[in-house]
């Protein structure tokens, strides 16, 4: 970076006014592709899963504490809103899991060719849908 003003994206117009330097548009112009869409989705699901760990910790604490705490947690998770959140969390986990494996393959050096890239991307999406639905089908059918 040659000029500190780049850091703040501040410059001066010809008449001396301090102005924000224009940014080249990216989100407004580029069409979402499998690469960019899956990439940002990987990050979004990561953040969503991080928020979800709060629920996991609450669940563990409740199990370790008392029957009342346990019933409270199970009640919240079993409520309609709780089930929706849990489903969303399952989808996020499944997606992040498969997209993460795709990342690990890239780290090992495989799968960078354009055709492989697209195929693996669609495979991740398909696996996510299939596994989320499968896990939920199993979970809903199993009643202890």
């Amino acid at each position: 970076m040659k000029d500190a003003r780049d850091a703040l994206m501040v410059g001066r117009a010809t008449d001396g006014r301090v102005v924000r330097r224009p940014l080249s548009p990216h989100l407004q112009v580029y069409r979402p592709q499998i690469s960019s869409a899956l990439s940002i989705f990987h990050r979004l699901t990561g953040v969503a899963l991080s928020a979800g760990t709060l629920l996991l910790v609450w669940w563990l604490v409740a199990a370790a504490t008392s029957d009342e705490a346990w019933d409270e947690v199970q009640g919240v998770v079993g409520s309609p809103l709780g089930m929706v959140v849990l489903f969303g969390w399952t989808v996020a986990l499944t997606y992040h899991f498969f997209a993460g494996i795709r990342h690990l393959f890239w780290d090992a050096g495989y799968g960078f060719e354009k055709a492989d890239f697209h195929r693996s991307g669609y495979a991740v999406l398909a696996a996510t849908v299939v596994c989320s639905v499968a896990v939920w089908a199993v979970g809903l059918s199993l009643r202890y």
Binding site: V47, L56, A63
Partner: protein
């Protein structure tokens, strides 16, 4: 007088770069590796956890306590918790470094995030131990 070897560095970075720690993340190789190792470990651990979580759907508390009482469950649960929170901290660190630009705010956010991850991890670990020991 024998030959003195030239100072030899095996890192692809200039000395000044190393000293100044340029870039928003300052340094990255250890972070990169830890992220990969934790991801790899989380693959089997997550599968194991989901399997058991499914088997315990709608279960009474005693069933969970019985499951957690086995040493295998305790160890794997502890491994899962530690790995998850470490992986999470690394990922959130990357997110914070990317989106918060002001130096003070970024530093504060990173500290807060790490503190939260550490406390959550400890809470989970203590809960698991309480049930399993």
């Amino acid at each position: 007088m024998g030959e003195t070897a030239k100072p030899h560095v095996k890192v692809m970075r200039s000395q000044l770069g190393r000293a100044r720690g340029l870039g928003s993340a300052k340094s990255g190789a250890a972070h990169w590796w830890a992220e990969r190792v934790t991801s790899l470990a989380l693959v089997p651990l997550t599968l194991w956890f989901v399997w058991h979580a499914l088997s315990l759907v709608g279960a009474p508390r005693q069933a969970v306590l019985d499951w957690m009482y086995s040493p295998v469950s305790v160890v794997l649960m502890l491994a899962l918790v530690a790995t998850t929170f470490h992986h999470m901290a690394l990922g959130l660190q990357a997110v914070i470094e990317d989106y918060i630009h002001a130096e003070a705010a970024r530093f504060g956010a990173l500290l807060l995030m790490r503190a939260a991850c550490a406390l959550l991890a400890l809470t989970a670990i203590v809960s698991v131990l309480k049930m399993g020991l």
